[in-house]
Every structure is written in structure tokens, then in C-alpha cells.
């Protein structure tokens, strides 16, 4: 095994292990901090697939933004309400969990099927790209490529997302405004 493979399995193991802890742990705040490790390992996996920009964006958006927001919500809610949440009994086999169980099993079946049917090594477009030497090297910059594609091929989705974000911002500003005295 070369270094890249070792790194891949290490990152994958960390991501899976920490994700399991996030799902299983009863200590909510610890779960959130463990989620940080999951996200970081995922960023590492992105780097290994030469998507360094996506990896860094993942860290900025999820770790710097979303995780901190979740933590804020935790810290603004009192210890008592958190303790109440944590003490709820969690039996894995119960009637409440039946729909979740069904969904999870079905999804697992779908995933396994896809993995078995995909034959990742023999995809036609992959072979074609490899023959034409149309591949990204580890030393290539990916941002130019990303920028050009965002401004040409994917302009409409890009603009739609920006309008969605603008709407969210306007909504937040409206909610946080003081009621004017009549």
C-alpha cells in the first residue's frame, strides 16, 4: 500500500468511527464536537480526490459556520432542557423506530446494489478521459476551472442559489428587527 492508500483508509476509518459516535452518543454537545472530526476527515477525503477547493470550503462552511451555529443554539438553551433531552430512553427495537428501520434498510439495499452494479473501473467516460489524457494532476490549480464553469455552464443554478440565500438573509433581518411603536 502506498501513502495515499494508507491516508485514505485512515481518513475513512476516522470518518466512519466518529460518525457512529455522533449517532450513538447520548451527550449531545460531545456529539457536535465529534461531528467536527467527521467533517474534518471528510475534508481529508476530498483532498485525496484532488478536490482541495471543495475540502477547504467544507471546513469554512461547516466547521466555521454551521457547527458554531449549532453550538450557539446549545449554549443559549439551558442545561435543564439539554439534560431532559439526554435522559430520554433510547431502545433500538421499538415501534417508534420501525419506520426509520425500514427506511434505513431499504437505503442500505439500494446502496449495496449500486456498488455491486457500478463497476467503477470500467466506466466508458472514465476510460475515454484516460485515453485522451484529460485528467487533473495533483499540481494543477482547480479554482480557474471551477470559476469558469460556475460562470458559464452552471450560471443558472448558481444565481438561483444566490437568490435563495438573499431571501434567507432578508428573512433573518426582518425577524431580528424591533417592532416599530405605533
Amino acid at each position: 500500500m502506498n501513502m495515499v492508500q494508507v491516508m485514505f483508509y485512515l481518513m475513512a476509518a476516522i470518518a466512519l468511527g466518529s460518525a457512529l459516535y455522533v449517532a450513538a452518543s447520548k451527550n449531545l454537545v460531545r456529539s457536535v464536537f465529534m461531528f467536527f472530526i467527521t467533517l474534518f476527515a471528510l475534508a481529508g477525503l476530498y483532498v485525496l480526490s484532488l478536490a482541495d477547493f471543495v475540502a477547504v470550503t467544507q471546513v469554512v462552511v461547516y466547521v466555521g459556520g454551521i457547527l458554531v451555529l449549532i453550538l450557539f443554539a446549545f449554549m443559549l438553551s439551558g442545561r435543564e432542557s439539554l439534560a431532559g433531552l439526554q435522559q430520554r430512553q433510547n431502545h433500538i427495537l421499538s415501534v417508534h423506530n420501525l419506520p426509520a428501520f425500514l427506511l434505513a434498510t431499504l437505503f442500505l439495499v439500494v446502496l449495496v446494489n449500486i456498488i455491486l452494479m457500478a463497476k467503477v473501473d470500467n466506466l466508458p467516460w472514465l476510460k475515454q478521459a484516460a485515453e485522451q489524457r484529460n485528467i487533473i494532476q495533483p499540481t494543477d490549480g482547480t479554482i480557474q476551472n471551477l470559476g469558469i464553469n460556475l460562470m458559464t455552464n452552471y450560471l443558472l443554478p448558481f444565481e438561483a442559489i444566490s437568490i435563495l440565500l438573499l431571501m434567507a438573509l432578508v428573512g433573518a433581518a426582518h425577524l431580528s428587527r424591533k417592532e416599530e411603536a405605533l
Binding site: D52, F53, T57, V63, G64, L67, V68, L71, M75
Partner: protein
């Protein structure tokens, strides 16, 4: 294999530098504050008190590591490490001299910016893990402040990136001196590609970047929790904020992180705005000052001098200005700095299209 050994050596080297810088940084801070407040500062240990911080470190190492009974043990132990490692990893992409950069990545600036934001998480971890109301208040203030000030800082950085057209910090550095492959114009009119020096720095290439530099500098003070933005550890109300419960080595790590953060943000400012490792001396006719003072060794000297200069300004500000109140602080961020940074970004676009 030699490859990995060099990587490890560079990492150890950066750590050693950061540690030594912290030692002298604390000493300098105490002497500067003493000078400003008309005191003497440390005088007893060593000549002029130079060994004072070394003695402090020895004292800290001997102290007992106390974990409060009600603290969340794991979070409490891990927090100082995460805070420090986040700052330390930021150094990986910063160039020191021509050809001398720990990791030559083409998204260096973006990476550094992302890694710094992890520090917030460490601070929140420390605040929550300590299980202490002062700690959690300090941590929340700190997180709110860092997140808010990332916005003007980010836009100030974007306005530089729009001028230099690269996120590679070494690329940004090369564009500000005589080694540049492109034409450099002083204030957008006078071609100074072969004169270099002070005239080729980014803030003089496009004058609106002076405003961006000031915005970034103010925001960087807030991001490293320095006065006048030190309400997270306002000692008159919060004891010492998120690190109230820390003792010994763990406290030393928090301190190390604070001083490394000062160095890191100053160094980013130097690289992006003040010509990185480029010399401030221009070529004047046959006196080729810029050519003589541009190489690896001089590069390190200039980077250090400029960065230490900025840190000096940070200390000067800390001991001169009073602490901002939280509403003033947020007003400054959202109503003054953010619109100004937006304006800088727009001017950058216009500058790139029609002037350069």
C-alpha cells in the same frame, strides 16, 4: 523518504519559531505596556528582565494540571490543543522568502482563512467544557466576535485577491516586487516593474487597498481577541473569559495560541498588503538597492521586520485604547467596516477592469 523528513523538520522548525516568538512577544508586551504606562516592567530576572518569561514558563510547567470536578473532562483537555493546532496549521501556507514556503499550495490564502476559523470551535469547546459561567460567557462573546469580524476581513482579503488574481500566497508575494513577471504600476499609472521596493507593494499598486488594509488590520485585532476587542476575556467582568479554569501547561497553550495568532494575522497582512518578503528599498538609477536586497536570506529578514512592526502596532493599540462595549463593537463591524469592505471590493473590480 527524505521528503517526509524535510516536512517534519519544517513543522518542528515552525513550532520552535512560534514558541520562541511567544517568549519574546510576552516580554515585549510587558515592556511596551510598562513604557506606555510610565512603569519599568520586569527588571529583576536577567539583564533588563529578559529572562522573566523563561522563568514564567518554568513556573507554568511545574504547576498542577487541575480539571474542575464538574467539567466535561475530554472537551476540557482537548480544547487548548485544538485552539493551538488551528493557529499553528495556518502557518503551513505562508511564504517566508522567495522559494521558501512550507507548503506551496495554490489555494493558500483560502486554506489559511479556513483553518483560522477552527479556533472558534476550540474556544467554544473550552468554554463549554469548563462548566463555568464566566468561561461560557467569554467563549460565546469570542465566537460571536470572531464570526462577525470574519466578514469584513474576508471582503478586504477578496479585494486583494481580485487585484492579484491568485489565491497562492507565494504568487501574491512575487507580484509585489522586482521578481514579478507582470507589469507593476504604482497607483495604476507609473510602471515600476524594474524599480520595485516600496512602490511595488499592493497598497501602493492600488491605493484603495490602504483602506482594505486598515479594515483587515482592525478585523484581525478582533479575530485574535486583542484589545480594544478583548471583551471575551474582559478581566473586570469575566475573570479571564474562556480560559478561566485552565492551569499550568494548558494555560500556556492558550497563551501560545494567542501570540501565534497575532503573528499569523500580521504575517497575512504583510504578505497581502505590505509586499510580503519584498524589500522596501527601490532601485534608484545605478544603485540597485532592490536587486541587492531580494533573496532568500533578505526575504526572511524583511518578513520578520514587517511582521514584528505590525505586532508592535498591535501592542501599542492594546495599551492605548480602552475596551469597546459589545454594541459599539458590533456596530463598528456591521455598519462601518462591512460596507467599507464592500466598497473596496467593488473598486477592486473596477480597478482590475479599467486601470490595470
Amino acid at each position: 523518504m527524505a521528503f517526509y523528513i524535510i516536512y517534519i523538520l519544517v513543522a518542528v522548525g515552525v513550532f520552535a519559531f512560534v514558541a520562541v516568538f511567544t517568549l519574546f512577544g510576552v516580554y515585549a508586551e510587558r515592556k511596551v505596556s510598562a513604557f506606555i504606562q510610565d512603569r519599568l516592567g520586569p527588571t529583576e530576572t536577567g539583564k533588563f528582565g529578559t529572562l522573566q518569561t523563561l522563568a514564567d514558563i518554568v513556573k507554568l510547567l511545574q504547576k498542577e494540571l487541575i480539571i474542575p470536578a464538574a467539567a466535561d473532562k475530554w472537551l476540557f483537555i482537548l480544547a487548548p490543543i485544538i485552539i493551538f493546532v488551528a493557529v499553528y496549521m495556518g502557518f503551513a501556507a505562508l511564504p517566508w522568502a522567495p522559494g521558501l514556503v512550507p507548503s506551496n499550495t495554490n489555494i493558500g490564502l483560502y486554506y489559511t482563512f479556513a483553518i483560522i476559523s477552527i479556533e472558534t470551535l476550540g474556544i467554544l469547546m473550552a468554554g463549554w467544557g469548563s462548566n463555568n459561567k464566566f468561561s461560557i460567557l467569554g467563549a460565546m462573546r469570542s465566537a460571536a466576535q470572531i464570526i462577525s469580524y470574519e466578514i469584513p476581513a474576508g471582503f478586504a482579503l477578496i479585494s486583494v485577491v481580485m487585484i492579484s488574481q491568485t489565491l497562492d500566497l507565494q504568487g501574491v508575494a512575487i507580484q509585489q516586487g522586482i521578481l514579478s513577471a507582470e507589469k507593476i504600476k504604482f497607483l495604476g499609472v507609473w510602471d515600476v516593474s524594474h524599480i520595485g521596493g516600496l512602490l511595488a507593494w499592493n497598497i501602493f499598486q492600488a491605493p484603495h487597498l490602504i483602506v482594505a488594509f486598515v479594515i483587515y488590520f482592525i478585523a484581525s485585532l478582533a479575530e485574535s481577541n486583542r484589545a480594544p476587542f478583548d471583551i471575551p476575556e474582559a478581566e473586570s467582568e469575566l475573570v479571564s473569559g474562556f480560559h478561566t479554569e485552565y492551569t499550568g501547561l494548558r494555560f500556556a497553550f492558550v497563551f501560545l495560541a494567542e501570540y501565534s495568532m497575532m503573528f499569523l494575522v500580521s504575517m497575512i497582512a504583510v504578505i497581502l498588503f505590505l509586499g510580503a518578503w519584498n524589500t522596501p528599498l527601490p532601485n534608484i538609477g545605478v544603485v540597485k538597492l532592490a536587486d541587492w536586497t531580494t533573496n532568500a536570506a533578505w526575504g526572511i529578514v524583511w518578513t520578520l521586520l514587517k511582521t514584528l512592526g505590525l505586532i508592535g502596532v498591535q501592542m501599542w493599540i492594546r495599551w492605548t485604547l480602552p475596551r469597546l462595549r459589545i454594541d459599539h463593537l458590533l456596530n463598528l463591524c456591521w455598519k462601518v467596516l462591512t460596507p467599507l469592505a464592500f466598497a473596496c471590493m467593488i473598486i477592486s473590480g473596477i480597478w482590475r477592469l479599467w486601470v490595470m
